[in-house]
């Protein structure tokens, strides 16, 4: 269980994390979703005590991180898979962590096996690892102490699709055993595949949170016509909440039949009409985090 309450971090006048409040529960995989620079990593660093918070609190299993007597045995942390000494072998990285936690050496071999790193790979220096191998090593280090909570920052980065599936199964198994998982990603697809609960952050603020099903259901209806603005106007005239999305689609907060009827009444021929599902979540993600999207800013600049 991770409880974050009104967490705020200011750098001068800039609020990197702004009144962030959410809970990651045991038995669930909580996905922390946001574009680059939204405040995900800063929030995670505050939770594990590497960055001091300006205000607010974060507790793990009811205690602050600094008060955990042997943190590795209760919380597995992977903040940056590349943050390892390039001159150490993969096995040595785990040896050091195991020694610090007071674990038997046999645990290192078990974990290497669990993340599918071979003996030969483990004997290589981390400087020669691919990003995917570093992620596996980082996961092994996080799991080493048999923790109750996992905190993983962009763990799927550098993994191929098979690797992402492997990670999903691993985290699923961990959560099913009663563990708490908090993982971040800037890719909606990864979060959709892995997470049960989703917390969306943009510009340091939480913009939406809920279970995956809730957020998907909130996606509404995706509808498309040759004339996007006419369709939006028609649906709004019919009293529906509708807004234009990317590449000519319109997203409406209403059922399929209602939307179809409204378009028919306005005499607009539709080219597509379906439940929004993940497209809705994606639209939501892009819309909610629009201000922090650099593309958006540059696109506006180009248009002007």
């Amino acid at each position: 269980m991770i409880t974050i309450e009104s967490l705020t971090k200011s750098y001068g006048g800039f609020r990197a994390v702004d009144e962030v409040t959410f809970t990651a529960r045991p038995g669930r995989v909580t996905g922390f979703l946001g574009p680059n620079g939204a405040g995900k990593s800063t929030t995670m660093r505050i939770v594990v005590g590497l960055t001091p918070a300006t205000s607010g609190s974060a507790t793990l299993l009811g205690r602050e991180y600094a008060d955990l007597p042997n943190p590795g045995r209760e919380v597995g942390v992977l903040l940056d898979a590349s943050a390892q000494h390039a001159g150490r072998t993969g096995r040595e990285v785990l040896n050091i962590a195991a020694r610090t936690m007071g674990l038997p050496k046999s645990r290192v071999g078990e974990m290497l096996e669990r993340v599918s790193l071979t003996e030969e790979e483990a004997a290589r220096r981390v400087g020669n690892y691919s990003l995917g191998m570093r992620q596996r090593l980082g996961i092994a280090a996080a799991l080493l102490g048999d923790p109750e909570v996992l905190i993983l920052d962009e763990p799927a980065n550098g993994l191929d699709p098979a690797g992402i599936r492997w990670m999903r199964d691993l985290l699923r198994g961990f959560a099913d055993g009663g563990g708490t998982v908090l993982l971040s990603s800037h890719l909606l697809h990864e979060i959709e595949v892995i997470a049960d609960d989703i917390v969306v952050i943009g510009n340091g603020r939480i913009v939406a949170q809920g279970t995956k099903e809730e957020l998907l259901a909130a996606g509404g209806t995706l509808v498309r016509a040759a004339d996007q603005s006419a369709l939006v106007a028609a649906l709004q005239a019919a009293g529906l909440k509708a807004r234009p999305g990317a590449s000519g689609v319109v997203l409406a907060e209403a059922g399929l039949a209602t939307v179809g009827a409204a378009a028919f009444a306005a005499g607009i021929p539709l080219t597509e009409l379906r439940a929004a599902d993940s497209a809705g979540l994606e639209e939501m993600f892009l819309a909610l985090t629009a201000e922090s999207q650099r593309d958006h800013l540059s696109a506006e600049g180009a248009a002007a």
Binding site: G27, T51, P71, R99, T211
Partner: protein, 270 residues
Amino acid sequence: MTATTMETTPVTTARPERSVPAPIPFTRLLDVEWRKMFDTRTGFWLLTGVGILSLIATAATMIFGNRETLTYDDFAAAVGIPVTVILPVLGALSVSSEWGQRTSLTTFTLVPSRGRVIQAKFLVIVAVGLASLAVAFGAGAIGNLVNAGIAGVTPDWNISLGTLSQIALADEINMLMAFMLGVLLRNSPGAVVGYFVYALVLPGVSGALADAQQWWMDNAGWFDLRTATIPLYDAGVTGEQWAQLGVSTLIWLVLPLAIGLRMLMRSEVK
């Protein structure tokens, strides 16, 4: 868009209650930090380098020195060079590489108390300094014995135990200067270059200044730590020289170390 809460989320399984693990004992931190000194390629070769250079220095002293008159002092001076120049780099890297290689992320998540980690590093550095001095003095002793055997003279052990511990103190000050630079700068190239400026460049500058200025020549020991440590290599250090050593150590070692530690404790680990 509706923002919903997760209040309704059912908890699928509850883990069996687990006992809180025992705190990490300090001896374990010492063990881990000791290991981290040597388990990288850099650490391994720096230490091996000190060993090899001690042997080379000993051999060179025998080959090029006048065998009839060589004493233990000559050997100790020769093996002292790799210990003064190379070993402190290890001291600087033990702290700075945590930031340079970003292993601090792992180190301080496994041990949230930064003070304990730095304390452990400090003690390990001092121990490594003593251990390698023992190796270097040992190499010198072997050289002295072998040389005496070859030349057919009685080996001359003209260094007292007191002077040996003074030399050890001087070398430990060098080690800790490098350690201090590692703590203060938290940047490996900066700390290593800084140490070499201190160990190799400043003595020349101070010497030139002393040549030009009588006042500096008389008083440099109060301000220049390198000048203040030179008397430690000979017997008969005066009370004033000890006082000079104390003052300049305070200015150049203790004070910057205190500032560096304060910054390190508060800094953000990225």
